[in-house]
């Protein structure tokens, strides 16, 4: 970002809801089936067909609203009229001026808060593929339409223009994804298109200036491209203004390969959508009882889960920067319950967090299925020195594969047993004798000498194939040095 400028960002996020069926008909809401196999008169827009609202989709929309601290209001559906071949009825049924969720907010991990203007329900379109010379829209000879996705339930979450950097926008997208996953409403897979992000970007010289003219950027397929596109777009707008030109309100397309945004259409070409109340649907008026029942099904949101782990770290002396990153990772992967149960079982929060964020996280799917009692038992063994850190990691890998088991028995089966003090001492002595120069410098101490502790520890570990307990080695080295 060029100094002397500020960017203003608002995001519009479409997320597919995890329902069994589509928003207005009983066709399966399935990704990846053969073309035009999940279709019926309703989602094909056949003459005479009528939409009927999916209760589960409404409840997931309410869950999103609750998770984003929105007011849940009586709502209606409108028709958004435009011609496009993937739009089976040539209008989209969408909530318009009376959306189900309004006025919420999302707290980001850095402590900032982003307003949520609305989160409304709408139906997805079919999928168009472009055939012919280039495979792209421009230059293709003809197109093919598959309506399997037509009518899949979406919630569009519109943020306030509260973000001021691409990093904050990325953090928002990441946190929103975590909230959507935690609420059970969506699987939040940006790359598969179940979460789609459009960015509204404008720039201004000072926080006291009014917002500049914004451009909307589409086709952002990852959090990374979101960040890149925002940076590019802000630079483009600043360059225009500094060259004495004006930013024209328009929709722009992010070209990932070229790393730039290109004009899709300007405001003058804006569609006249002729929104009007959908006469085939009736108003949705959720009562307090229904809203509460949906709220009761909601699990803890990521912000609450992070705070819970930070509290555990603080109880044992505070959280370092890298531990905060571990907290974010663990919560993001929904492995925080493992940490919490291990700490409750007496394991230190630092160890529980580190093993979870560094090792269990490697196979998060398996880790989420792991028996917490087995995990606690393993970490307890490691903390007591019954197994070394290296051995603990090896046993954990097995636990993840099997989904549980007795870590003590597994360690034994692998031949992992704590070395007796005698055999440890003799191995350390052998290593010391074999490296007299290094030993001499170690004994001189000081910053340089002390660093050689790691050298000797490594040799001992190698000699014992990882069976030695690192702490015990350090103690023995110091004893030999006479410290």
């Amino acid at each position: 970002m060029k100094p002397g400028w500020e960017m203003v960002i608002g995001l519009e996020v479409h997320c597919e809801l995890k329902t069994a069926t589509k928003l207005f008909c009983g066709c399966p809401n399935m990704f990846g089936d053969e073309a035009n196999t999940n279709v019926c008169p309703v989602c094909l827009g056949l003459p005479g067909s009528l939409p009927v609202l999916n209760q589960k989709a409404v409840e997931l929309a309410m869950a999103i609203g609750t998770a984003l601290n929105c007011e849940i209001l009586p709502s209606t559906f409108h028709r958004k009229n435009y011609f496009y071949p993937d739009q089976a009825k040539d209008y989209q049924i969408s909530q318009y001026d009376e959306p189900i969720n309004v006025n919420g907010h999302l707290d980001l991990p850095d402590g900032s808060r982003v307003g949520i203007e609305r989160a409304h329900m709408e139906e997805d379109t079919g999928k168009t593929s472009h055939a012919g010379s280039s495979g792209r829209i421009h230059g293709s000879d003809y197109s093919l339409v598959d309506y399997n996705r037509s009518g899949v339930p979406l919630v569009e979450i519109v943020s306030a223009p509260d973000m001021r950097s691409s990093a904050q926008a990325r953090a928002y997208a990441g946190e929103l994804r975590a909230v959507l996953v935690a609420s059970g409403a969506s699987d939040g897979k940006m790359e598969e298109g179940s979460m789609r992000v459009d960015a509204n970007v404008s720039v201004r010289r000072s926080v006291d200036d009014p917002f500049g003219t914004r451009c909307e950027i589409k086709n952002l397929n990852s959090v990374r491209s979101l960040g890149r596109a925002i940076e590019y777009e802000a630079d483009r707008q600043i360059a225009l203004i500094e060259a004495g030109e004006v930013v024209v309100q328009q929709t722009r397309h992010w070209d990932e390969d070229a790393g730039r945004t290109v004009t899709l259409r300007s405001k003058e070409d804006a569609y006249d959508y002729r929104y009007f109340l959908e006469p085939d649907l009736v108003p949705l008026v959720p009562d307090a009882e229904w809203i509460d029942a949906v709220a009761d099904t909601l699990g803890m949101m990521p912000a609450v889960r992070r705070a819970r782990l930070v509290r555990l770290l603080e109880e044992s002396g505070g959280a370092s920067e890298s531990q905060l990153d571990q907290v974010a990772t663990v919560v993001d992967l929904r492995l925080d319950d493992l940490v919490v149960s291990a700490v409750a079982g007496g394991v230190s929060s630092g160890l529980a967090l580190a093993r979870t964020a560094n090792e269990a996280a490697n196979d998060a799917d398996a880790a989420r299925r792991l028996d917490p009692a087995a995990y606690l038992a393993l970490l307890t063994m490691e903390a007591a020195g019954t197994v070394s850190a290296t051995q603990a990691k090896a046993v954990l890998a097995d636990l993840l594969v099997r989904g549980g088991g007795d870590p003590a028995a597994m360690a034994k089966a692998k031949g992992f047993e704590a070395m007796s003090e005698d055999s440890l001492a003799s191995t350390v002595a052998e290593v010391v004798v074999a490296h007299p120069d290094e030993w001499g410098r170690y004994c001189e101490g000081g910053e340089k000498g002390d660093k050689l502790a790691g050298f000797f520890t490594g040799l001992v570990m190698k000699a014992t194939r990882g069976q030695a307990n690192g702490k015990a080695v350090a103690t023995e080295l110091q004893r030999l040095r006479g410290g």
């Binding site: 329902t19 069994a20 069926t21 008909c25 009983g26 066709c27 399966p28 053969e34 073309a35 035009n36 196999t37 999940n38 279709v39 019926c40 008169p41 094909l44 009927v52 609202l53 999916n54 209760q55 589960k56 989709a57 409404v58 435009y82 011609f83 496009y84 071949p85 993937d86 739009q87 379109t125 168009t128 593929s129 472009h130 055939a131 012919g132 829209i137 293709s140 000879d141 003809y142 197109s143 093919l144 339409v145 598959d146 309506y147 589409k218 397309h253 899709l264 259409r265 569609y271 006249d272 959508y273 002729r274 109340l277 006469p279 649907l281 009736v282 108003p283 949705l284 008026v285 959720p286």
Partner: protein
């Protein structure tokens, strides 16, 4: 009723484009006159006091009509595609699309 101004030939041409209809010059002239006449007639509601009157979009006040999230049998693909003007690779084939979806 607020007076939006009499319907012009340009209005009709614009609306025809929005509705994806092509009109000949003769049709444009004819329809402009006919539609303006209907809209003029509709302006008689100006004599009705509508201040503070809520609009009625649904005559019957029904709310919360929902269906359970259960899969129902859909249509046979061959039957569906058998009705289509042009099909390729089990998809509906259309001529090239000049722009992206809104």
């Amino acid at each position: 009723m607020a007076e939006p101004g009499r319907l012009t030939r340009e209005d009709v041409a614009h609306v025809a484009a929005l509705a994806r209809l092509h009109l000949s010059d003769a049709e444009l002239d004819l329809f402009t006159g006919q539609l303006a006449e209907v809209l003029d007639h509709a302006s008689d509601v100006a004599s009705l006091d509508l201040a503070g009157v809520a609009p009625t979009a649904h005559a019957m006040a029904v709310t919360n009509v929902l269906r359970p999230d259960e899969v129902r049998p859909g249509l046979d693909r061959d039957e569906v595609l058998g009705q289509a003007p042009s099909v390729e690779d089990h998809r509906f084939r259309v001529p090239r699309i000049p722009g992206e979806a809104p």
